[in-house]
């Protein structure tokens, strides 16, 4: 965890610096209040201090990183990313069932009912509940209008 905390601390400092520097581009139209830049500067300043504390405390931390199958989590993230990227192009109703099917395959599901039933069921539910009942205009992509 020591290394992780040090990296986290550096990321924190980087974020804070990024915001801090940008505040100097603000146009100052203060009249009686503090102006637009003060609070973000305060926030980034405190964040830097906290990050430094974390950095120096990291030498005596007893925290442990939880072990897990990170690969599987990354695959899941990639699959969600695929859906989000492809929705505007080929539409929600096509990409989503395909990705769910792929996910179930990766999870070594063999039950045919689940393999085919779940993708169709989920999409059907979204169609009926969100699109029809709640009138949410689910994007259908550029091929279907």
């Amino acid at each position: 965890m020591k290394k992780a905390n040090q990296i986290a601390s550096l990321i924190g400092i980087a974020i804070a610096m990024f915001f801090f520097v940008l505040t100097f581009q603000f146009k100052q139209i203060e009249y009686q209040d503090t102006g637009p830049a003060l609070m973000p500067r305060l926030y980034s300043g405190v964040l830097i201090v906290l990050a430094l504390i974390l950095f120096f405390n990291s030498y005596r931390t007893k925290e442990k990183v939880e072990k897990g199958n990170v690969k599987m989590a990354l695959i899941t993230m990639a699959l969600v990313l695929t859906i989000v990227v492809l929705i505007p192009i080929i539409g929600f109703y096509i990409i989503t069932p395909i990705v769910i099917f792929v996910f179930l395959k990766i999870c070594q599901q063999t039950n045919k009912k689940i393999l085919f039933g779940l993708p169709i069921g989920v999409v059907l539910f979204i169609f009926v509940f969100f699109q029809k009942i709640l009138s949410v205009p689910i994007p259908t992509g550029i091929f279907f209008q």
Partner: protein, 342 residues
């Protein structure tokens, strides 16, 4: 077995829901997803054939708000005259700019419309919106609500003249609340300062309602928000409206004089109207204008507007366009003077 129970529960829930809505959902008209610009251009060959499919009315504000409610009431009334369902879609984000640009970039075929507000003539001058009123073809104005100068009922001034005299004697002492800096109600207050020469202390709030709350709590001395937002308290005798920033008196407050009557030529307020993307064929605009103006004269819509204290001001395509252009120039100048243009 257990899965079956789950599935059955889910089904039951869905049925219950469908029943709940089905009972009274005439308004939940189905809607086709909106057209994207990349679709093959197809010009309406026969004007009489419009509209052939449901029309989408984009509201750039969240569901449940005042603009949304007005749009839905109007859409419901206009369906009859248009002969096709009108699906209201809320597209929020970026202070309404996301919804506005969506329609500005839509195919100009009259099937994607915008329920636009006066923000379109304010935001561009503050550098907050790349799109302007010129990106739209104005179809019809539906409503106008002036900024109404309202004070507590026990305030030491009873008329606009007394208020201005007090303000002159105590420059910067009167704290006026309204929307955020550069928002319409701030511009209401700012134009009072501009035309009368008094000095006020403007306090920005997140909108009209919080400003009214502060006024009721005695934390500020006046507000410059819409009549709709203060009407209840005015009727209850807790607040009094001294004047409205308009050329004509407001329908919901016929007894309140205008700034115009006091000799100041100024009109600041929120308007709402129907817009189509620029480049929409004139025949389509004609048809839409007719349908929406007729709808706005329906009794049900009038009652809705009265209940909400919203003023109905109808203008056809041409007059609406002129008004928008005039407003645009006015706010451009005002924001420049306030040092708020970017």
């Amino acid at each position: 077995m257990k899965k079956k129970v789950m599935v059955l529960t889910m089904l039951a829930f869905m049925l219950v829901f469908a029943a709940a809505c089905g009972n009274n959902t005439e308004s939940a008209s189905e809607q086709k997803p909106k057209a994207t610009p990349s679709e093959e251009k197809e010009v309406a060959k026969d004007e009489l054939k419009f509209p052939e499919k449901p029309v989408t009315l984009v509201v750039p504000y969240a569901a449940g708000g005042g603009t949304d409610a007005t749009a839905r009431a109007l859409a419901k009334a206009a369906e009859e005259f248009l002969g096709q369902p009108i699906g209201v879609v809320n597209k929020t984000g970026g202070n309404a700019i996301v919804g506005m640009s969506e329609v500005a970039n839509a195919k100009p075929d009259g099937y994607t419309l915008l329920f636009n507000t006066s923000e379109i003539v304010i935001l561009p001058h503050q550098g907050m919106s790349p799109i302007t009123y010129e990106d739209f073809a104005q179809i019809a104005q539906i409503n106008f609500d002036p900024s109404a100068l309202t004070v507590p009922a026990d305030a030491p001034y009873n008329t606009l003249e007394e208020f201005l005299a007090y303000a002159k004697e105590n420059p910067g002492k009167i704290r006026v609340g309204g929307s955020g800096t550069g928002g319409i109600w701030h511009l209401g207050s700012a134009s009072i300062e501009k035309v009368t020469g008094v000095k006020l202390n403007y306090v920005p709030y997140d909108g009209g309602a919080p400003a009214k709350t502060a006024l009721l709590g005695g934390h500020i001395e006046a507000v410059t928000i819409s009549p709709a937002e203060v009407l209840t308290q005015v009727k209850a005798g807790e607040l009094k409206t001294l004047a409205v920033l308009a050329t004509d008196r407001s329908d919901s407050m016929p007894d309140v004089p205008t700034f115009n009557e006091a000799g100041y030529d100024v009109a600041v307020g929120v308007w709402r109207g129907i817009d189509a993307p620029a480049g929409t064929p004139a025949e389509v605009i004609e048809k839409l204008q007719e349908a929406f103006l007729k709808a706005a004269k329906e009794q049900e819509f009038i009652t809705f507007m009265e209940n909400n204290g919203l003023g109905i001001v109808l203008k056809g395509s041409e007059d609406y366009h002129k008004m928008v252009k005039k407003d645009n120039d006015f706010y451009k100048e005002l924001l420049g003077e306030l040092g708020l243009s970017n």
